[in-house]
């Protein structure tokens, strides 16, 4: 009859407590704040002294703050009262602190520590709810492939030349093969052997004098993947440099990159930064650190050299003669050398390799410097007018000793694991592997974002009020049970979304409202079944029990089909649509649970123990 196992009540209670805990962080508003972090790790300190300096600067400018202190992850967080003061504070601090620090607009959580300790976090908000910039960039894969394959052709020529195999031509055939036509007197076996060592991934076909090097599909895919990965690294470095608190930089599909910069408003500036150019230069080191320090102190720099600085701001003298430039760098991969020490394997193209060979022949034991050169666009106000110029930033990222004679492939050693990874990244980030174009761009102002939040919450609130009012009037006591189930449903959806870190967006609110609709359906099915049983003359308690039993099969079937629609949206939708689908799916699952199990539990609690139940309010 109408019974409900005790352990199920316990389970519901646990679900309720967990839901409340994990939904709770969303109730705490976030503080508009300015986040200050070190521009490059190691060189600058984020400490109490900096906090005092920032606090003093703000006090002088009469910008009231809630707090200025070093918070987790070693960032200085300046909390403010509103977004207008937030912008003023950031504009004030940015020039004062200089380029050693990144000053970013941010939203600081106000969630109490004990909730955070449980891992409870508010849902991240989509750009449509907080304002910001959304870019989608398309990577020109064809150009990346072209560039790489041209380098192959160049290398094949060089290999043949180096191994003294005469040839009449080396050409590319589409994206599939490189065809080398050997001269009449050439040693084909030698050519094949040499090329096999140089290009182990390519398969060879010899027909008469024609040697075809086939490029396997897997190699082409690897080139494409490398190109987009390299572009991603480049973009990440550039975006990190201009201070956005929580940027999203993601690969989408095979050739797109999605960039989201919450809170950022100056799109033009962001686009210039993202599109900035950088390159590398290989230059011989002149003298050592001591000589460089002396040269800087005495202002007596040798005529063939120039002073460069490394990341730690230590001077080093490098030759004015450019040995190899960045566009001659083909690849850089972190790995291990023969002794198992961390290293970076660098590959140059044929021209670069030849120059490197010539240089190393004469300079074994001397040092080689790699300089990272970046053109950074700057906007300055001169005489009240905006002037756009570029600033060139150069820094030495490596200066290792030349161990022996080498050509286009060589290794840089004597690094820690982190240094090797970072150097490989910086070498690669020198240039974009393939040109990129902006294919989508959305800028949402912060006021519109705040407006959207207000509209979304109002809409969900009213959809609840409408539904709850109707149920209370129409089903009385069972209406109340339904209302409790609906409210728990909402709580569970919010809690689950927060737990998995699903981004809340405007369509997400629509998903919430829709999950109310879904939940309504399940509850109506049950309540109508109970009424039907009562009309058929079944005693109240039995009517309730069989109402739940009979309805649950139907609920299961109808929700499974609705779930399919949600899954389709999740699979084929993008961005906000996926948010909508996610809410819908979670809403359907929780509504089955709350309608079938929770409301039955409540109904049993109310009606289960009465001996002589004559009628029920439904």
């Amino acid at each position: 009859m109408l019974t409900f196992a005790r352990w199920k009540y316990f389970a519901i209670l646990v679900v309720l407590v967990v839901s409340v805990l994990y939904a709770l962080p969303n109730a705490y508003p976030q503080d508009p704040s300015v986040q200050i972090s070190a521009a490059r790790s190691g060189s600058t300190q984020i400490d109490a002294a900096l906090a005092k300096r920032a606090a003093d600067l703000l006090a002088q400018a009469k910008i009231p703050t809630k707090s200025v202190q070093v918070e987790d992850q070693g960032n200085l967080m300046v909390r403010l009262n509103d977004t207008e003061q937030q912008t003023r504070a950031a504009d004030l601090l940015r020039p004062q602190l200089g380029s050693d620090y990144v000053v970013a607009l941010s939203l600081a959580p106000t969630v109490p520590g004990w909730l955070e300790a449980l891992g409870a976090k508010p849902m991240p908000r989509g750009l449509d709810l907080q304002g910001g910039v959304h870019f989608v960039m398309q990577v020109d894969q064809a150009a990346a492939l072209n560039k790489r394959l041209e380098a192959y052709v160049e290398d094949v020529r060089a290999t043949l030349r180096d191994s003294a195999v005469p040839y009449t031509s080396v050409v590319r055939r589409g994206n599939e093969a490189i065809v080398a036509t050997l001269a009449g007197n050439a040693d084909a076996d030698k050519a094949q052997k040499q090329l096999r060592t140089a290009f182990p991934t390519l398969t060879q076909d010899l027909e008469g004098r024609t040697l075809t090097l086939n490029i396997p599909q897997s190699e082409l895919q690897r080139i494409s993947l490398d190109a987009i990965e390299q572009n991603l690294t480049t973009l990440r470095n550039r975006i990190n440099a201009f201070g956005v608190a929580e940027p999203v930089i993601q690969r989408q599909g095979t050739d797109r990159v999605v960039i989201q910069l919450p809170g950022l408003q100056d799109t033009a500036e962001a686009k210039r930064q993202i599109g900035a150019t950088a390159t590398l230069e290989f230059r011989a080191v002149v003298g050592d650190e001591a000589a460089a320090a002396a040269a800087v102190r005495d202002r007596n720099v040798p005529p063939e050299a120039r002073v460069y600085y490394n990341e730690a701001k230590q001077p080093l003298l490098l030759s004015k003669r450019l040995l190899v430039s960045g566009d001659q760098l083909v690849n850089a991969i972190p790995g291990n050398d023969q002794q198992g020490q961390p290293s970076v394997s660098i590959t140059l193209n044929a021209i670069g390799g030849q120059r490197m060979l010539n240089h190393t022949l004469e300079n074994v034991g001397k040092r080689l410097g790699i300089v990272y050169v970046e053109q950074i666009p700057v906007t300055e106000i001169v005489d009240g007018k905006e002037v756009r110029t570029t600033r060139t930033e150069e820094r030495v990222i490596s200066s290792s000793r030349i161990q022996g004679v080498f050509g286009k492939d060589f290794q840089t050693t004597g690094l820690s694991r982190d240094e090797a990874n970072s150097l490989a990244k910086q070498l690669k980030s020198g240039a974009l592997a393939a040109p990129m174009t902006f294919v989508e761009e959305r800028v949402v102002g912060p006021s519109l974002g705040a407006d959207n939040v207000k509209r979304g919450t109002t809409a969900v609130l009213y959809s609840f009020v409408f539904a709850l009012t109707f149920f209370l009037i129409y089903y009385r006591m069972f209406g109340l049970i339904t209302c409790l189930a609906l409210l728990l449903n909402l709580l569970m959806v919010v809690a689950l979304m927060s737990m998995i870190g699903a981004t809340m967006s405007l369509p997400g609110f629509a998903g919430l409202a829709l999950s109310v609709g879904m939940s309504v359906d399940a509850n109506v099915l049950i309540n109508e079944r109970i009424r039907e049983e009562l009309r058929a003359g079944v005693p109240p308690q039995a009517a309730i029990a069989s109402g739940y039993d009979k309805a649950s099969g139907t609920i299961f079937d109808s929700n499974m089909t609705a779930l399919l629609a949600g899954l389709a949206l999740l699979a084929f939708g993008t961005g906000p649509l996926q948010g909508f689908a996610m809410t819908m799916i979670i809403g359907i699952l929780t509504s089955v649970f709350t309608a079938v199990t929770v409301s039955r539990g409540i109904a049993t609690l109310i009606y289960g123990n009465r001996r002589k139940l004559k009628s029920i309010a439904i």
Binding site: V136, Q138, T267, A268, K271, F438, V439, E441, R442, V443, S447, L448, R455, G456, A459, Y462, S463, F464, V465, F466, A467, F470, F471, Y475, L506, F509, A510, A513, V516, G517, M518, V520, D521, V524, L525, E528, E532, S552, G553, T554, F556, D557, S558, N559, M560, T561, L563, L564, A565, G566, L567, A568, L569, A571, F572, G573, P576, V596, A617, I618
Partner: protein, 321 residues
């Protein structure tokens, strides 16, 4: 009449829906053909999401004449700019196709500049609330993905229902659902209301809702076929009548929730709410007037044999929650 318990429909509803089946199917077919005709002849008013282009939303200190803005934009090289007011009348929503020669990043900047120039006067401060650019390629992919999603849902429904019920039910449910989707899409073609991504999402969720409604009725049909001794038409009729109050109440409340979205959700959610509101009404009507009548026609005619419990079914029923 007793006030409690409240009922929207009489408990002993016994409308002979089956007698009306030729009329109801004819009406449904007619509406569907009108919808298809509208889609073919008028096409959709596709939004930026699908066509690509620029969208700029500005807030003004004072309202301006829309025609002036259009003229100024045309003078600046944007011939077919769509300008509409929004919200309080101080907000403008402007849609532009990029000028010739403008590529992605330049297009956005130029559009914003042109709009600022066109709307602001000496004493009228304009502020850009939103500035979007979507490349035409992205739009095409989105449209294609929408189509894939639709196919995925249809096939998924077919398999699931054929497995849980019977293939005739699956086909009838799919026809009903497609009918609903076509009618909702047709409405957007007829009204010329903007068809954007959220509308597409709305339509997909309408599929979920519509099938949900149909399944509930079919579930009752299955149950009654097993317990009643009567001819199929009586069983179908009885099933519709028994689920009628549930169908109406659910739809009523679901409509209310979506209506709240329509009223308070603001412009960005209006299209979605609109598609869902129409979808709920059509979905309810079709689950009553189309789904079951289809089960009496031609190849889809169900008989008791189709639903006699099979061994496999019994086992499945026993496992049901």
């Amino acid at each position: 009449m007793k006030i409690f318990p409240l009922t929207l429909l009489p408990n002993d509803a016994n409308v002979n829906f089956m007698k009306l089946r030729w009329v109801s199917i004819a009406v449904a077919a007619l509406i569907m053909f009108v919808a298809i005709g509208a889609m073919v002849t008028r096409n959709f008013n596709y939004a930026l999401d699908f066509t690509g282009g620029n969208l700029v939303e500005v807030h003004l200190a004072k309202p301006v004449g829309l025609d002036t803005v259009r003229e100024r934009l045309a003078a600046d090289g944007y011939d077919s700019a769509q300008v509409q007011t929004y919200g309080s009348g101080n907000e403008l929503l402007i849609r532009l196709q990029p000028r010739e020669g403008d590529s992605g990043s330049a297009a956005t900047a130029h559009a914003a500049e042109a709009v600022m120039k066109a709307v602001s006067g000496a004493d009228n401060q304009a502020k850009i609330l939103r500035n979007e650019f979507v490349g035409p390629q992205v739009g095409r992919e989105l449209a294609l993905n929408g189509l894939y999603a639709l196919l995925f849902v249809v096939v998924g429904f077919l398999i699931y229902i054929a497995f849980r019920f019977e293939w005739k039910f699956a086909v009838a449910a799919i026809i009903t659902t497609l009918h609903d989707v076509i009618v909702v899409a047709g409405w957007f073609a007829i009204s010329g209301h903007e068809f954007d991504l959220t509308v597409l999402a709305g339509i997909l969720s309408v599929m979920g809702y519509s099938i949900n409604d149909t399944i509930v009725v079919f579930d009752r049909v299955r149950e009654n076929f097993r317990s009643m001794r009567a001819d199929p038409e009586t069983v179908l009729n009885k099933s519709i009548n028994q689920t009628l109050s549930r169908t109406v109440i659910t739809s009523f409340v679901a409509f209310l929730t979506v209506f709240a979205l329509y009223l308070y959700g603001g412009g960005s959610l209006r299209g979605m709410a609109e598609s869902q509101m129409i979808g709920i009404i059509i979905g309810t009507l079709s689950s009553i007037f189309v789904a079951c009548p289809l089960l009496t026609l031609g190849l889809l005619k169900v008989s008791k044999q189709d639903l006699l419990p099979k061994a496999k079914d019994e086992a499945a029923l026993a496992r049901r929650p």
